[in-house]
Symmetry: C2
Subunit: 515 residues, 2 copies
């Protein structure tokens, strides 16, 4: 069967991903190393994510602020002294002027900054500085701040959306009077991420705590949501950290409590990024390209008039606009249905395939025959094929418009159900020894190891410590495996012992290959 | 009279501005030179501006994309060769890693970039690069792109919102097959800015063309909207440029036309920034602080429960929440009324003044007596005072809620009307000589020249050229005056001669002090 994207997922998943991103008008590489250009379809998804996640962030009592792009080097230096495992790959601004020198534009040596500035890799330190300015008394707390911004982390190996030098994200930073409140905040936002991923992105996730060696540097606890991609790998899709008084001690963030004493704030932070778009692609994309869940689709319905350069074209266009108006009068998930009538020049069949690859949930093709019959001919992107053929449908226009909210809700629900089935079916829970684990991930004969679907393991373990811990992590690393998280809501301790050490196990931990 | 902000506008306008920004929770200076922290009230205004302007940008057929923060130095170098008056004050990234050297964190010498990167001062060149990739055939045109982003221009003297090293903006960049289409685009977006400023920001403006010496470097024509601040100075609030084939030639942006020949695109660009917030403050603020037009107010109505640490407080809170729910069920300008019940600890009178200085359009104070009578006690921020006293109002709650949309519409309209009257009354049109011009702007006895209101002049001139032009500009500069723009829609040529040269005049030009 000829698919719209080549190679298929089964043939070469990484290359399939690159093709879906390119053909789906989602993003392209830019001439700046590691930085992407987010194309209209990709940015439209990000705008939907921003709006719907922002609504949830506001509903939980947070405020949006905007902090500087640059961080003074001394701020970073202070953090570096306090934080082990501190990453140092950052873009550093050292000059503030260009000058033509010998006919060439260069940084003007006379404009060298007394103190270099770092392009924010995260805003912990600069926001901490403002916490210190604002948290005077217990009356000022909690401070519940969020920022939507671009950040930069110099990466050697980049991949569109998944790992780029510059990416877009939101970062929440909160300061509280007590550890209990800060912990509640950490878990509240993890739950916001979990429900957002599932109900909006249609992307099922496992929420849990990261093992100590995967914590955010300086955090007391780090929690994540983990999603399963169609190649069986895990994608960390969001994190929420309880930072204790670690950052407030380093930055001297104190408040006067009700008893009049100075006390350190307890802080938390949480974030998701444009990486989510990579997750959506690898959760829902198929061999014909992108499939966008309706909640985050820039357009729900794309209408393609079939024009033949004849006077009757005008009637076709008018019909399309009138159908679009009917659809826009309908409401899905609390907002008007989003419709585009694509009047660009080009062959109708080319435009159809372009929108299929872009993943618009519903694609209509309207020609003179439809106008005459009062019908709508359309494709559902999530159920595009009937065998090798396209599954074309037809409905009277009134029925099509009035049924659109229910149709979109069905698409959203089915995309989630399919992904949830895949997740549930591919978490293996009965591995009880290292030999079984090794056998599970070992390449099979004739298999392309790079592209083999394996899924995840949920295994009993004792939280590793010291040299024994190092050895366990090294063993996993050699197999290109990582611990993902310790799922929340575990009832009691496992009966079986730790598969790594044979010690009595504390809990079950997820093991997987990952992005 | 004691005002909430000190000094008053009449006493010291620049200092009044700083105080309104600080006390209004709009922005504060950050520890990073020239960069601001945008506080929740200021960022909330920006979010409203983003949403409502973005709607208009989408309605006119544009798409949002996102381009890299960094521009390779060679791109800038190419532009510098083509553009006179090219500004060189930019943040330059030269290293990509930090390293602990002798116990101090420093840029790692081994991480020096082969080619420095510039933090975008504008994205013309990188977007031009992508135009080149996308504009293959006439079928691909027009390309109508917009970006919401942060940009950096190293500024020596900064002022919150008005001139900061980093600011937020939108930049539209479009590529067209013909000059006619690109010119139409330029004027369309100027008109979008004009109507947006007037109907959304309640800020009347004069739209016109910038004289040659004030053009964007490389532009064929630059147009602006100019707003009059309450100190009589002009603020350039938005610009729209027709760039001809200047940038497409420099960047080799060609398309194949219908005849199969390669032809240069005609490009346009247009932008507004967080500077608009400064304009709104200086248009609508009064001696009690900020006044936010309802269309861009983060909250329309703020409800302050008067609590006395008694059991009856619960009934007061419940009443407030119930009034808030009634208000949210009302719709103003196509969206639900935005309400905040402020339950923070603190004295009611302090909270009242905090919200007055923040400029919330309607502020309610609800105590036990209101609950008993079923009334609402409130202030209109735009008509706060009755003489020296606060103009407190009271209404039955049902009437208050149902009347809110009309009340907000009235506030919006009256803020605009007041500002429009000020603008119209202070454009002086009968100056006919340089002596009259000098007398108009000369300081009067006993007057603080820095703070003296003057307004604008609309005078006849001949577009200055060559040495004569230089001399005119120098004369104006010495008087701290600038040419603002040549208002659109002038009927015929002025009868009086150019006031600078005595030559027959081409048109009327606006002269003013400016930000």
């Amino acid at each position: 069967m000829k698919t719209a994207v080549s190679p298929t997922r089964a043939e070469d998943f990484p290359e399939w991903y690159q093709q879906v991103v390119a053909e789906g008008d989602l993003a392209v590489n830019s001439p700046v190393r590691g930085c992407m250009i987010i194309r209209p379809n990709g940015y439209g998804i990000w705008e939907r994510i921003q709006k719907l996640l922002n609504d949830r962030i506001m509903e939980t009592g947070h405020e949006n602020l905007y902090f500087p792009l640059f961080i003074p080097l001394s701020f970073i230096g202070k953090e570096a002294q306090h934080v082990e495992g501190f990453a140092k790959e950052m873009a550093v601004v050292t000059h503030h002027r260009l000058k033509m020198i010998d006919g060439e534009l260069k940084p003007d040596p006379e404009s060298k900054l007394a103190e270099p500035l770092v392009v924010r890799p995260t805003s912990e330190t600069i926001i901490g500085h403002h916490f210190r300015e604002c948290a005077k008394s217990w009356r000022d707390l909690p401070l519940l701040w969020n920022q939507w911004a671009n950040v930069v982390r110099w990466e050697m190996r980049t991949r569109l959306f998944l790992r780029t030098a510059e990416f877009l994200w939101q970062e929440g930073h909160t300061a509280h009077a007590t550890g209990e409140e800060a912990r509640e905040e950490t878990m509240r936002m993890l739950e916001v991420y979990r429900t957002f991923a599932e109900s909006v992105l249609a992307m099922p996730v496992i929420a849990g705590e990261k093992p100590a060696h995967e914590r955010f540097p300086g955090a007391e606890n780090t929690f994540s949501i983990e999603a399963m991609m169609q190649d069986g790998k895990a994608l960390q899709a969001g994190t929420s950290h309880y930072l204790g008084t670690h950052f407030s001690t380093a930055q001297d963030i104190k408040y006067q409590n009700k008893e009049g004493e100075l006390s350190y704030c307890h802080t938390a932070s949480w974030g998701v990024s444009t990486r989510l778009i990579g997750g959506v692609i690898m959760t829902h994309g198929d061999d014909d390209g992108m499939r966008i869940p309706p909640r985050i689709a820039p357009k729900h319905v794309v209408i393609l008039p079939i024009l033949r350069d004849v006077p009757e074209d005008e009637a076709v266009k008018a019909y399309c606009e009138s159908v679009a108006a009917d659809l826009r009068a309908q409401s899905y998930a609390g907002e008007p249905v989003r419709v585009k009538v694509d009047l660009r020049d080009g062959r109708a069949v080319d435009k159809r395939w372009a929108w299929i690859k872009r993943g618009a949930p519903v694609i209509c093709e309207i020609g003179g025959r439809d106008v005459a019959s009062g019908n709508i001919t359309f494709y559902r992107r999530d159920k595009l094929r009937d065998g090798e053929k396209l599954a074309v449908q037809s409905q009277p226009r009134a029925q099509f418009a009035s049924g659109m909210p229910a149709l979109l809700a069905e698409v959203q629900a089915e995309l989630f159900t399919d992904a949830k089935k895949r997740l549930d079916a591919n978490i293996v829970r009965d591995i009880r020894s290292m030999d079984e684990l090794k056998a599970f991930f070992a390449p099979k004969e004739g298999e392309n190891a790079e592209n083999a679907f394996r899924g995840w393991l949920l295994v009993p373990w004792k939280r590793p410590e010291g040299a024994e811990g190092e050895r366990i992590l090294e063993t996993l690393k050699q197999m290109k495996l990582t611990t993902r998280n310790i799922p929340l809501g575990q009832q009691g301790k496992p009966e079986s012992p730790c598969i790594f050490t044979g010690h009595p196990a504390d809990e079950m931990v997820l093991i997987a290959r990952s992005y």
